[in-house]
Amino acid sequence: MSQAGALILILGSVFVLLAAIGVVRFPDVYCRMQASTKASTLGIGFLMLGVGLHIRTVEAASRGALIVFFVFLTAPLAAHVLSRAALRSGIPLWKGTKLDEWSDSEQAK
């Protein structure tokens, strides 16, 4: 059980590493934001699951569940606020962007 927790810990940190690589390599603020939000959230979830499987007490499980709940609640909210602020302050989209509903609705006004 503890070894499963160790494996899940490595899996979670690999997801966080993928998120960091995405933040560095993606071409656009919005692409970077989705890499950071999605992959890091999953990585934090796996890390807390690994800690809970390793320690196996009620305190560890409840605190880990609280952190996971909090991150799952706040990460999409922060990404939404930030992407809206970036769009409204005029940061350009990547040239390969297919769907741009914001600019379409601005032109339709």
């Binding site: 070894q3 590493l17 960091a20 970077r32 950071s36 890390l47 605190r63 909210l77 930030l82 940061i91």
Partner: protein, 96 residues
Amino acid sequence: MNLVEIAPQVSLVILVVSMILTSTRLFRGPSLADRIVAFDQMALIAIGIVAVRVFISRHVSLLDSGIAVGLVGFMGTVGLSRYLERSKKDPGETEP
């Protein structure tokens, strides 16, 4: 050395490498929004480092500091985003 001793060291190395990669985006980022994304990501990586530390030392109360780091990161992200949104030049409101 068995897996339970090696795995937290490995994942600590991976998390520190991710922190360094993210800090390059924090320094390089062409716009303020890139820097805010990198800041948010660094707060999440800090929660991960706290988790690995708890895995090694079995001090469960350290996880409370992870909750605090998450709260501060979220508040910082939202505050900086509001600042970014407020500081734009809005042609509809500046001049009557």
